[in-house]
């Protein structure tokens, strides 16, 4: 067999210079066709649907934190006009009832947040209210976790979290909206 000279073999090397171009092309393709999607949001568990009318439970008024949002995006909290800024603090005070007031929740496990809105309520307002209520519960759980276990709620073990969740359960009941302000 004819022996290829060293010089020949040297020139047979594949030119890798265009590799960068190919990679660039792919890179630009991915840059253009993809979007970094916002995959965050407020997680909600909807109540299951049932065709039977719900049992009417008579709840003590002191345990119910009712939040009404009308078609003008105004808030009515427990019969009094309120605004979004104070909602979180207000809800926290209601749930924990630190001063043992007679018109607030007996204990956190009995507290129920009842939300009702119109069909004309803006979605942004609805979500903001929901967010504040959820925020109030999250802050309370966090405070409780710090008191009991000396660390934030999210760093607690599964059992510890369950314990806190059982003591401060998140109960939001949403009523069927009234048909005001429908587009």
């Amino acid at each position: 067999m004819a022996k290829t000279s060293i010089k020949d073999r040297m020139s047979n090397e594949v030119n890798a210079g265009s590799m960068a171009d190919i990679a660039f092309l792919l890179l630009i393709f991915f840059l253009v066709t993809t979007t970094i999607v916002e995959d965050k949001g407020v997680l909600v568990k909807l109540p299951p649907w049932s065709n039977e009318p719900p049992d009417i439970q008579q709840l003590k008024t002191r345990n119910v934190y009712s939040v009404l949002v009308n078609a003008q995006n105004q808030l009515l909290v427990r019969g009094e006009p309120a605004d979004l800024e104070t909602l979180r603090e207000n809800a926290k005070e209601f749930i924990m009832n630190p001063n043992k007031r007679a018109d607030m929740a007996e204990k956190p496990t009995k507290a129920i947040v009842s939300m009702k809105n119109d069909r004309g309520t803006k979605y942004a307002t609805y979500l903001e209210v929901y967010n504040e209520i959820k925020g109030a519960y999250n802050e309370l759980r966090n405070e409780e976790a710090n008191k009991r276990f000396g660390r934030d709620y999210e760093f607690c073990t599964r059992e510890q979290r369950k314990e806190i969740r059982d003591d401060i359960p998140l109960v939001i009941s949403e009523a069927e909206p009234t048909s005001f302000g429908e587009e």
Partner: protein, 154 residues
């Protein structure tokens, strides 16, 4: 001339560009991993509201998306200006939701079906009427884990 002699004496070997492809590939892989294919053409305008209590949606394959918003300007002639629902890449009605969920469901491994979440991408200016209708449809279809898509508040 002095300058010529200097150049000849100190000529450096050219900078090797052999590692350039590697660098670019690294960037490429980064983008391939952090981004998700744009699944469908957007037919409605959606600007999600802001919120603070956000949780992340894990497993992308276990998530289906429902968009609610006003049709984009180009399509307003045919579709009107009222808020509409978009499933996949077309406009849909409330009655189409169960089938849409079922189509996504059958693609997923049976053991993971309980973890399916619905991401609701809803425009912040939409009124609650249509949102409630969609929520009711989801409840009737047994899809209870829902995520209201939102941007972090700054």
């Amino acid at each position: 001339m002095a300058s010529i002699r200097k150049k000849k004496g100190k000529s450096l070997p050219p900078v090797s560009t052999a590692s350039l492809p590697d660098i670019i590939f690294m960037l490429l892989f980064f983008f391939m991993v952090v981004t998700v294919m744009r699944d469908s053409e957007r037919k409605v305008d959606v600007t999600t509201p802001n919120a603070t209590e956000l949780s992340k949606l894990e497993k992308k394959s276990l998530v289906n998306y429902i968009y609610i918003g006003r049709p984009i300007e180009k399509l307003q002639k045919e579709a009107g200006t009222k808020p509409r629902i978009q499933l996949g890449d077309k406009f849909a009605n409330l009655a189409d939701i169960p089938l849409f969920l079922e189509k996504h469901r059958v693609k997923i491994n049976e053991s993971q079906r309980g973890a399916i979440k619905t991401s609701l991408r809803i425009d912040k200016d939409v009124t609650m009427g249509i949102v409630t209708d969609v929520k009711t449809a989801l409840r009737k279809a047994g899809q209870l884990a829902v995520n209201y898509s939102a941007k972090p508040k700054v």
